[in-house]
């Protein structure tokens, strides 16, 4: 099977199939045979799909793209765990060596009311973009920037901002949360921008707008269960949620009403 340590495995898959957004879904069983333990989980699904196409059946639809854990496309519940058994890894970074030969594996889409199923294992996560849209940015129109080294950022602050900015927007935090909350996603952006001097002018209005949009999209509230940080492929800390709560409280107590002409938003 190639590879240095590769061995062949046989697996039984129970996969969620759903024809479309309004259709009723069901589990279908597939056999995955002769899979290399060096293959990634998605490459295992590729092999199953090749077999389905050869039979003239529709392949299992799933989201994927970069296959190196950075684009945030892949989004599978594997045996009930968002992104499967490897901590700090996206679905595409899970390799079959993490499973036992002969194992049965259940594969489902993210389950959250704010993420409707498009087809099979593909869900619609555009709600996350709408949270960014209302405030997950620093307003910096092109052309007006001063020299980069005029803004000093202490290394610990830059490091903490980067830790939070590592979020890949996959939505595992939402899928793992019993409440279907997007708090880890939102707080990661609030923390990234709030740690930096450039992010200060909009800090209050940012957190208020993003939290409001989170509610608007139908995400649940946060009960600090901590499931999100367990599922996060980038190991983003739940401390960011505390920071968001702190910023939110500070903002609602101090935010002044905006006057017209105060700039675009």
């Amino acid at each position: 099977m190639g590879g240095i340590n590769g061995r062949a495995m046989n697996l039984t898959l129970k996969v969620w199939r759903q024809a479309g957004p309004g259709a009723e879904g069901r589990f279908e069983t597939y056999q995955a045979e002769g899979i290399s333990s060096d293959a990634s989980f998605l490459e295992m699904l590729d092999v199953v799909n090749e077999g389905l196409i050869e039979q003239g059946d529709e392949p299992i639809a799933f989201s994927h793209d970069c296959r190196e854990g950075i684009c945030g496309s892949c989004a599978l519940m594997i045996n009930g765990v968002a992104h499967g058994p490897v901590k700090g890894a996206a679905t595409c970074q899970v390799h079959m060596r993490s499973f036992g030969d002969g194992e049965q594996i259940t594969v489902e889409p993210w389950r959250a009311s704010a993420f409707p199923v498009v087809k099979d294992l593909v869900v619609d996560r555009t709600a996350l973009d709408r949270i960014i849209q209302v405030g997950g940015f620093i307003s910096a129109p092109t052309g007006g920037a001063r020299d980069a080294n005029e803004i000093l950022v202490a290394k610990p602050d830059a490091d903490e901002a980067m830790d939070a900015a590592a979020c890949i927007g996959c939505g595992a935090c939402v899928a793992a949360c019993p409440n279907g909350s997007a708090s880890l996603f939102t707080s990661a952006k609030v923390t990234h921008l709030g740690m930096l001097p450039q992010g200060q002018p909009e800090r209050s209005r940012r957190v208020v707008a993003m939290v409001a949009q989170m509610d608007e999209e139908g995400f649940g509230g946060c009960s600090l269960f901590g499931e999100c940080q367990e599922a996060c492929p980038k190991l983003i800390s739940i401390d960011t949620i505390n920071r968001m709560h702190h910023d939110y409280l500070r903002a609602v107590l101090t935010l002044r009403p905006e006057r017209s002409g105060a700039g675009e938003g």
Partner: protein, 638 residues
């Protein structure tokens, strides 16, 4: 077809200033009368969409992902170059310009490259203003690292996720403009064709990937920021969706294709592990700052564990062959050198297709903690994929297709040979010549999007009448019908082979005959084999499902159909270019030492190919390259 580069007159240092002054402006109150379509939201697309919207144009951005943040720019790891000279080590705009022209083996247009180097400094300012969390020194200043092909430290980085952070910066600016309504975002919409009416680009035809609906969108200008075409090779470091359809359709509508054979093979990728392999993963070139590349001196040692091979039996071949650049030799050179030692039977790992990248000396010198701080996420990624610990055992790496320098031909304004059609980022051919330097792709994408297109599109629009444009004319209807017919045809073949099986066959063929080393004989064979494979595809492919909902097999089949045509053009271009330059290495043209041998007398030009119909060979047009600021010389990194 006439190729006019529209390079401004005057000394190179003043050309961009002069152009910007001479460009016509659109009155602020009139900007809202113009619609601009941007296809793709990677670095080039998101930065262009955001900036054009800030100026007041109505921007429509189309992406095939569910979110614009997923474009493949996100995967760039190592960094972005800029001539800031913050390290006081002798950098300047002129030096970055020089390094880029030389690095590209003298096959890029000087004026474009100079402007790129000028814009580089503004990009860093812009990104920092947006909150991009670049690496910092303890005093709070920005940190830099070195990258291949340069002897100064000019690369800015955000751990090993620089592409991600720059893309999120551009994405956030764009989403801000989505919030104001100035950008209309169309997610999960794939551009399947370009509409040209009265000789100018008027719009695009897209497929809504959720519902299968085929629809036209019109605009006063169309911008393609759709990335490169490395996935012609099936296995590459590109994301799985990355494809050539948008630029290929534009080519077939009249846009010239520049230097299609210029492909970059990146030296530091994780070797293939088996037949199941769906893509290759890159390890950032920055690793070569501290890692030493070697293979055993003797074939017999290749099967031994690396720690069983004593120092004197190791060949640090990059340090040996290129003493002044050593492990930081440019990508094309490092990749070919790896191929040479593997061809000699001295490769390591499965199939002998690998070389060691060893950090033992660096760990001894700096300590494991320092190495972890610099490359921790890359080491983790390697361990995750291979199951080996690179802190203890040297990494195994092998070259893989990574980037395409070729792309749609554009003039100085980034406009293609179709008026109103602009092309930016990896999708165009400009700036990198025959080989791109590390950390220069991010720079180019953002230079194009933030700082060039907003000026040049304005200049174009100033000469075009504003106001609504119908998307119901005969030209639109005809293209829609063609696209729809193509979908139906793909679904109706009902043959025996999966789309991927044919794609893999094309990939192997391209890798063997149009990959790291090319010969007249191999290319001639490929030119005969590709049409047969295309025939096989159109008679024997099987695409299940319907056209009326999400159908990933159908999406894939459409992209492969275009790769099967583009592959042939790449081979044709490689065959015609009877010289070696950069990533294009023709075995017949090499120096006694095995280095690329250019032929500046005959080939100092951009090859721009014009489509003339499926049953006719494309026409070759030449844009001569004139070097007034950099002296043509054989590249030396010794």
């Amino acid at each position: 077809m006439e190729l006019n580069s529209r390079t401004p007159a005057g000394p190179i240092e003043q050309q961009w200033d002069r152009a910007r002054f001479e460009y016509k402006l659109v009155n602020p109150a009139n900007k809202r009368k113009y619609d601009v379509i941007v296809v793709g939201a990677g670095l080039a697309g998101a930065s262009a969409a955001a900036t054009l919207a800030e100026l007041g144009y109505n921007v429509h951005c189309f992406v095939y992902h569910d979110s614009p943040r997923r474009a493949h720019s996100i995967a760039a790891q190592g960094g972005i170059n800029a001539a800031k000279n913050y390290q006081n080590d002798g950098d300047s705009v002129r030096r970055l310009f020089y390094d880029t022209v030389k690095g590209g083996d003298f096959r890029a247009r000087e004026s474009n490259v100079y402007r790129l180097a000028q814009n580089s400094v503004n990009i860093i300012d812009q990104a920092v203003a947006q909150g991009v969390p670049f690496a910092r020194e303890y005093g709070g200043l920005l940190a830099n690292r070195s990258f291949g092909g340069a002897q100064v430290s000019r690369t800015f980085y955000a751990r090993g996720q620089t592409g991600q952070q720059l893309l999120l910066g551009a994405y956030q600016q764009m989403m801000r403009m989505v919030g104001t309504g100035q950008v209309k975002l169309h997610t999960m919409h794939e551009m399947l064709d370009l509409v040209v009416e009265d000789g100018v680009a008027r719009g695009i035809v897209v497929r809504d990937m959720r519902t299968g609906e085929i629809r036209s969108h019109s605009a006063h200008a169309v911008v393609l920021c759709t990335g490169g075409y490395g996935n012609v090779f099936y296995l590459s470091t590109n994301a799985k969706y990355s494809n050539a359809t948008a630029i290929w359709r534009a080519y077939k509508r009249g846009a010239a294709f520049g230097n299609p054979c210029f492909t970059q093979i990146h030296p530091t990728c994780i070797p293939q592990s088996g037949e199941h392999q769906s893509k290759l993963v890159l390890m950032s070139e920055s690793l070569r700052n501290d890692g030493r590349v070697w293979v055993p001196k003797r074939k017999e040692d290749c099967a031994k564990a690396p720690d069983q091979i004593p120092e004197q039996d190791r060949d640090y071949y990059l340090e040996r062959r290129y003493p002044s650049f050593g492990n930081l030799a440019p990508r094309d050179i490092a990749s070919r050198a790896a191929k040479v030692v593997c061809d000699e039977g001295r490769g390591v790992g499965p199939g002998g297709l690998g070389v060691y990248l060893d950090f033992a000396d660096a760990i001894k010198r700096l300590g494991e903690e320092k190495i972890r701080e610099r490359y921790g996420n890359l080491f983790d990624m390697y361990a995750n994929i291979t199951g080996e610990n690179p802190y203890k055992v040297p990494m195994r790496i092998y070259p893989a297709v990574h980037y395409t320098m070729g792309g749609l031909w554009v003039d100085y304004d980034l406009q293609s040979t179709i008026p109103g059609l602009f092309v930016a980022g990896e999708a165009n051919f400009s700036d990198h010549g025959a080989n791109r330097l590390g950390a220069s792709a991010l720079m180019q994408g953002l230079s194009d999007g933030y700082f060039i297109l907003p000026y040049t599109i304005g200049n174009y629009l100033a000469g075009v009448k504003g106001g609504p444009i119908a998307n119901t004319g005969a030209a639109f209807k005809a293209v829609e019908a063609e696209v729809d017919g193509r979908m139906k045809r793909l679904l109706s073949i009902n043959g025996k082979r999966t789309p991927d099986s044919i794609h893999k066959e094309l990939g192997r063929l391209m890798w063997e005959k149009c990959g790291m080393e090319r010969t007249r004989e191999g290319l001639t064979e490929a030119l005969a084999e590709i049409p047969k494979l295309r025939e096989e595809f159109w008679h024997n492919v099987r695409v299940p499902g319907s056209e009326n909902d999400l159908n990933q097999a159908l999406e894939k089949a459409g992209r492969i159909a275009d790769f099967l045509e583009l592959g042939e053009l790449m081979v044709r271009d490689a065959l015609h270019r009877e010289e070696s330059c950069g990533g294009h290495f023709r075995a017949e043209y090499q120096t006694e030492e095995g280095e690329a041998l250019r032929d500046d007398e005959k080939f100092a030009y951009v090859a721009a190919w014009e489509y003339r119909g499926d049953d006719q060979a494309p026409a070759l047009h030449k844009e001569p390259l004139v070097f007034e600021n950099v002296k043509l010389a054989q590249r030396s990194y010794k």
